[in-house]
């Protein structure tokens, strides 16, 4: 394609507005005008200093949903989505069945798992299950550090994918007995004689209720109720096995031994060891009794703060950076009354008025993993997965190695001088390693709704090659947003 055909047209200049935080200059909105392609951009509705929202059109709304519920899309997927009614599209997405993670060569290497996951995120048609796996990973956090050379990261990844769209009761029960979580938050160290408080506290503070909805006494009593959870290795028939010892083995031989066990159907699992569990009477969140882990979780799930806590976290990731209380309440109510059905939670968010309101357009910042996977999908280059594993650190997101148990920042928390350079440099390196490119003009239309600011248009128009054009697209502010 010659450069004469790929200039962004300046004929369509929309919504000049003065005022706003940047003073009297205002913004102009340049849109693509391609022969035979209809204008997809609403010509009105842009507030001062905002992009003109295309969310009034079915194509615009479909793209908006795909950017949030998935890791991005090809032009064909967008076309198909735009041809459906919005409720049907939402249903289709939330009901997607997950595709299993392909076999990981070394299940004891978290980096191998993360690389396989990046590739899977980039290639699987079942996008929503992967996006939910990442959502739960960011909320119900664990890092790899205490489980080096064990296949626990892989097992947790598989777990979140398989039950991350069922119901939260099943999920939080499984998480509490997940080997990586048991290791990460020290449940393994917790005995009747000396209960370890780490999981009890973070379970309530971060995973289910939020600060202010439990007392320090609940933390201590909860630790007693949760004491005695241990990880065991079982074979395919559920018979307990000895865990291979790393000591005296080489890492490679050990990895091979563990890999062989898993291939034969063995798995690690959390169980309650009665002799380590405090069977005494506890008073936890106002309830008194001989409370065990499952009962403790039931008591937590019966708290009025639980559904709003999950709803708020989901809204910040999928809907609006600062959800008003009324929105949190309405989503939480639907979630709670469906007995914590996760599909109901997500359907309620995606079909809410707030989700498609004009000010929802580009109101969320793609996290680094989302940004990198969207890049792979836009370019159809899943072979960048290894690069994603390396590049995340400088953008402040390493999967299975979050900064703290509270997970990663959201939205504006991702923005810093260094992190933004890292995004631009990722784009530069990706472009530099490509030999051919999809049509960049079509991509501006498909990926950016044809709605770009003056800066993106100017850099795109000044570009000398398709590589330059793709750099402008991938590095643009518009592509960082969803």
């Amino acid at each position: 394609m010659g450069s004469a055909h790929i200039k962004l047209s300046r004929r369509q200049v929309l919504g000049i507005a003065a005022g706003g935080v940047v003073g009297a200059v205002g913004f102009r909105y340049l849109t693509l005008q391609l022969p035979g392609v209809s204008q997809k951009v609403a010509s009105a509705g842009g507030a001062a200093g905002a992009w003109a929202s295309p969310l009034t059109t079915s194509a615009g709304r479909a793209a908006h949903l795909l950017r949030r519920a998935t890791f991005g899309y090809t032009a064909a997927e967008w076309d198909s989505a735009a041809s459906m009614s919005y409720p049907d599209l939402v249903d289709m997405i939330v009901n997607q069945a997950a595709q299993p993670l392909p076999t990981v060569a070394d299940p004891t290497s978290y980096q191998a798992v993360v690389r396989a996951w990046y590739e899977h995120m980039a290639t699987t048609p079942a996008q929503f299950p992967e996006r939910m796996t990442l959502f739960w990973h960011g909320l119900l956090t664990s890092d790899y550090r205490k489980a080096a050379r064990l296949p626990f990261v892989l097992q947790q990844n598989v777990l979140y994918r398989s039950i991350g769209r069922t119901d939260f009761r099943s999920l939080i029960n499984a998480v509490t007995f997940d080997p990586l979580m048991i290791r990460y938050l020290d449940l393994e160290e917790s005995t009747a004689a000396a209960p370890n408080e780490n999981y009890s506290r973070e379970l309530m503070e971060l995973f289910t209720l939020g600060v202010g909805n439990y007392s320090e006494s609940d933390v201590r009593e909860g630790a007693r109720a949760l004491s005695g959870i241990r990880t065991i290795l079982v074979d395919a028939n559920g018979q307990r096995m000895q865990v291979p010892k790393l000591k005296g083995s080489t890492p490679a031989a050990y990895a091979q031994a563990v890999g062989q066990l898993l291939a034969q159907g063995a798995s690690f699992k959390g169980v309650l060891a009665p002799q380590q569990h405090d069977a005494g009477v506890k008073t936890f969140l106002g309830r008194t009794g001989n409370i065990d882990p499952a009962q403790a979780l039931d008591i937590i799930l019966a708290q009025p703060a639980c559904a709003p806590h999950i709803a708020r976290n989901a809204l910040v990731q999928f809907c609006t950076p600062d959800p008003p209380a009324s929105l949190v309440t309405s989503v939480a109510t639907a979630f709670r009354s469906s007995n914590y059905d996760i599909k109901t939670l997500m359907r309620t968010i995606f079909t809410s008025e707030a989700f498609s309101a004009p000010d929802a357009y580009r109101s969320l910042v793609r996290g680094p993993a989302e940004y990198m996977v969207a890049t792979m999908r836009a370019l159809n280059r899943p072979n960048l997965a290894a690069r994603c594993v390396q590049a995340g650190a400088a953008m402040d997101q390493i999967l299975y190695d979050m900064p703290t148990v509270a997970g990663w920042p959201a939205n504006q928390g991702w923005v810093s001088s260094g992190a933004w350079l890292a995004r631009l440099n990722f784009a530069a390196n990706v472009v530099a390693s490509a030999h051919t490119f999809p049509d960049p003009v079509a991509a501006v239309h498909a990926q950016l709704d044809g709605v770009v600011g003056t800066d993106t248009a100017a850099v795109f128009n000044a570009s000398q090659s398709d590589g330059d054009r793709w750099y402008a697209l991938l590095g643009s502010p518009e592509f960082q947003l969803k």
Partner: protein
């Protein structure tokens, strides 16, 4: 209910989706002048992430209650590096002991605040915002930068080093912060064309994040230009051991502090540097884990102080450590300790008046069932550093006045 997310979105207006207020409105605001900003007095903040156990850092070896509470992870009197007749440093910290003996370390005992919280994220918020009531939305260092150190918004006056995101302490509406993971990567990669295109993409970005994005790029652009020849003006005079494999730490402190030295030595406008080392949440195996982390802190801080001194800038730099809380007096069943309250902090540098300040809290007369009662409000330390070290006005940053500590040399 206050959650971490509430804190993080506090910059957004309450009604619907408002404009994300950027630290500085105009992109050209810092371009003009840095004359009134000098690196004559630099404050380095070292955050020990996760809640460092104060009792195994500065050990009250003379108190029998200590080993009674710590039968397996307690450090016996014969091993500690004594600071006086009752307390001593963890034996993995010979470097700090040497600096202490030279009069360059103030150990402030029992630092905390009333009604301690035991949540990482509330504890962090309180220290970051200098506000136990958790009402403030701006970080104390950000406020200090914006209101007094650098009203011009110079991008290199406040720096977060060896990390990728902006620490909450430095976030304030009118504070500009350079976030630099490493100088070699703090570049626009891909050649001259990209170096033109990257900043050109972020001049007038629309939308609620527009000004924030644009400021990130303009800050980076300025920093890259300023740092362009810094490697010709700085050579480390000591060996910083980059033990990035220390268990559970998510940052390489030695590398971060070497970068800090480079920034201070080559950039005349640097005033505040923030570095962090994580991994101190030692619910289990504290004996091996905390020792490894403290040894790393000891070697990295010692190297940094020596490097600064060798470059003739010892009179210009003070380093302060902090952590969101100390840990429970009694050990738990996993050779670890659970979340606690008051703890000691270190203030290090040639301008420091060395010694042990404040009182070691009682190990037996505790608060909240087994936690240390604070003796020194952490804002006293902040106030002392703001007024006595940086010659600035603490009231506008802290909103109240706190007793000062005699830990800075008066010349």
């Amino acid at each position: 209910m206050i959650t971490r997310r509430d804190f993080m979105v506090s910059g957004i207006t309450a009604t619907g989706v408002g404009i994300i207020v950027p630290p500085v409105f105009a992109k050209s605001v810092f371009a003009a002048t840095v004359e009134d900003v000098h690196n004559d007095k630099v404050l380095v903040i070292l955050q020990l992430g996760g809640g460092n156990d104060g009792l195994n850092t500065v050990i009250p070896f003379a108190d029998p209650a200590y080993l009674q509470a710590r039968p397996t992870i307690g450090i016996t009197a014969d091993k500690v590096l004594p600071l006086n007749a009752s307390v001593g440093l963890n034996p993995v910290m010979p470097g700090l002991k040497k600096l202490f003996d030279a009069g360059e370390v103030a150990v402030v005992q029992g630092v905390g605040y009333p009604k301690p919280v035991y949540s990482h994220f509330e504890g962090l918020y309180i220290w970051e915002h200098a506000d136990p009531s958790m009402q403030q939305t701006e970080g104390w260092l950000g406020k200090l930068l914006a209101s007094q150190l650098d009203g011009q918004g110079h991008p290199l006056t406040g720096c977060a080093l060896g990390q990728a995101s902006t620490p909450a302490e430095l976030v304030a509406q009118n504070a500009t912060v350079s976030v630099i993971d490493s100088i070699p990567t703090y570049q626009v990669q891909g050649g001259a064309g990209r170096q033109v295109a990257a900043p050109a993409l972020y001049k007038q970005t629309p939308g609620i994040y527009g000004a924030l994005f644009d400021q990130a790029l303009s800050t980076a652009e300025y920093g890259i230009a300023a740092l362009g020849d810094s490697q010709h003006r700085y050579t480390p005079s000591v060996s910083y051991t980059a033990q990035s494999t220390v268990y559970g730490s998510k940052n390489s402190l030695a590398t971060s502090l070497q970068l800090t030295a480079e920034m201070i030595i080559t950039q005349p406008s640097v005033k505040i540097c923030h570095v962090v080392l994580g991994g101190f949440d030692t619910h289990q195996d504290e004996d091996t884990r905390q020792n490894a982390l403290l040894a790393y802190v000891d070697s990295a801080v010692s190297a940094f102080m020596q490097d600064i001194a060798n470059h003739g800038m010892a009179d210009r730099v003070v380093l302060m450590t902090w952590s969101e809380f100390g840990r429970r007096v009694a050990e738990n069943g996993g050779k670890g300790t659970d979340h606690g309250a008051a703890a000691p902090i270190f203030v290090v540098g040639k301008p420091v008046k060395g010694g042990v300040f404040g009182e070691q809290p009682s190990l037996t007369r505790t608060v909240d069932a087994g936690n240390l009662q604070y003796n020194v409000d952490f804002r006293s330390v902040y106030q002392t550093l703001i007024r006595d070290w940086l010659n600035a006005d603490p009231a506008s940053v802290l909103g109240a006045s706190f007793p000062e500590l005699p830990i800075i040399q008066t010349l």
